[in-house]
Amino acid sequence: MGSHLELPDFFQFMTTAAIKVRDLKKRFGALQALDGVSLCIEQGEFFGLLGPNGAGKTTLISTIAGLTRGDSGSVLVMGHDVVGAYRESRRSLGVVPQELVFDPFFSVRETLRIQSGYFGLRNNDAWIDEVMGHLDLTGKADANMRALSGGMKRRVLVAQALVHRPPVIVLDEPTAGVDVELRQTLWKFIAQLNRAGHTIVLTTHYLEEAESLCGRIAMLQAGRVVALDTTAELLRRHAGAFLRVKIRGPLPAELAARKPVEAGGSFRFRLKDYDEVAMVLAPLRAAVLHIDEMEVMAPDLEDVFMQVMNQGKEPMQ
């Protein structure tokens, strides 16, 4: 789990943030989609953007990409304002959109050549071939876009975002509806790009994916950043631990007051830390209840996520 502290030394000298969002607001009619978002993503980070449906992740990405204009606030990509210096900022950015879009007029190779040309790169076949190779697209190079399966179309979208070798790559749910094999191929390739120095920003609803890949994570809820920290720190700070016990007989009142989650005959207790294990076991012992099964679990990102979302806005430091 690489935190931003483990980045190579040369990043210490780079002062320009990959993405800098300052107090960004965006309203759609009565809906405040982004409600004062501020974020700073450093170069070389692998950054996760999490949040429930409708939290504003895609809206934030669209604003960074210039597909949407914010009502107020500012967004810089590699130091270039996305409105004032849109040419430079767009050149620095590769975006994989959430929607599975394609142009039915063209083959895979044509699609990639054209996308490359839009960035002013006309002799880019070597790189296009390399990207297709990494994404297992080579066999489909001359297939029409219409004839591809959903997962294949998704690969082309990823390839399209990479044709101009952007230093900053944003992927909006790239693994939605995608099979295990592509996920692994994709993450291997993206991790490789990250190691080569590309900044990666990722949204996903697969939290284990985010947990294992992202060094730092922002959680969005109703257009606000409600948590922002390294993945390690989020896991440490938020969730404590869990104790699951399966007992014979009714739960003592003292323990029922802790409001454990009951599932399949066992009770799941939230603990602040491991010391609390004894405090759950003591009343069971006092009541002479037999314990059939017991398990102590470290929290995962999903627990952190649920906790952050349920408490609404957690105090930020």
Partner: protein
């Protein structure tokens, strides 16, 4: 394998204009049966029917047969309608399928975006125009008295209609909106512009109305190139068409700059 080198990127001042233009040309050329051949056939049908019915009854200019009079109008009508169709259908299709993001994400400037779409529609207009012209040669060679005007008005007219199509495409949320624009605006304006007649044969009121129709000047100027005669001076027509084109281009560039509808 790869470096996220901004230095390399900055060393590439080339723009996406050429590719966007190429893509727009390829888009209609790949389906040329539908985008070029079909309109040519339609124009031929018009010509067969109208000339057959009206040949001996109407004489618009002294010494000019009705069929001969009709041909330039028909050519121009095809040019204009197809220029409109090219930009409007391309944009609305990209909007509806969502693949417009592919041209919105790259660093293509507003002016390049506008120019690429409009130039492609001019090329489509001219291709169809040439096709119709070639077919009408079956009816005999028309006079080409002042051919410069033919080229000038074909280009200006298709640029104007290409821009109109872009405007409709930016504005529209579905195909119906484009169809409405076409049926309630473009089609009446073309038909009431003197494609099938000289406006001098109209009652005075409608003559006055026609003078507020920019399509009238495009067709009148275009026809001037064939016969050396026109209802108004081609210079006046050119001035009016150029002004209209400038105004709509200005409006579209402003829309693109503010992100109106496309970057909402």
């Amino acid at each position: 394998m790869t470096r996220p080198s901004t230095v390399a990127n900055e060393a590439l001042p080339q723009s996406g204009f050429r590719t966007l233009l190429y893509k727009e040309l390829l888009r209609f050329w790949k389906v040329s049966a539908q985008t070029v051949t079909a309109p040519v056939l339609t124009a031929m049908l018009y010509l067969l029917i109208f000339s057959h019915v009206l040949q001996d009854r109407v004489q618009v200019y002294p010494g000019v047969q009705y069929t001969a009079f009709l041909i330039p109008g028909l050519i121009m009508m095809s040019v204009l309608q197809n220029a409109f169709a090219n930009t409007s259908s391309s944009l609305i299709q990209s909007k509806i399928t969502g693949n417009l993001v592919f041209v919105l994400l790259p660093p293509i400037s507003y002016f390049e975006f506008f120019s690429a779409y409009v130039i492609a529609s001019v090329v489509r207009g001219l291709c169809v125009g040439l096709g119709v012209f070639a077919v009408t040669l079956l009816f005999g060679m028309p006079p080409l008295r002042e051919p410069v005007w033919i080229v000038v008005f074909a280009v200006m007219g298709s640029a104007f209609l290409g821009s109109m199509g872009l405007l409709a495409g930016i504005q529209a949320d579905k195909f119906d909106h484009i169809a409405a624009f076409q049926n309630f605006f473009i089609l009446p304006a073309t038909f009431l512009s003197g494609v099938f007649y000289s406006i001098h044969s109209l009652p005075p009121f409608w003559q006055t109305v026609s003078h507020f129709n920019p399509f009238f000047y495009m067709i009148d100027g275009f026809r001037r190139g064939f016969f050396g005669q026109s209802d108004v001076s081609p210079w006046l027509s050119l001035l009016i068409v150029a002004t209209c084109l400038g105004a709509i281009a200005g409006l579209i560039l402003w829309m693109l700059k503010t992100g109106y509808k496309l970057r909402h």
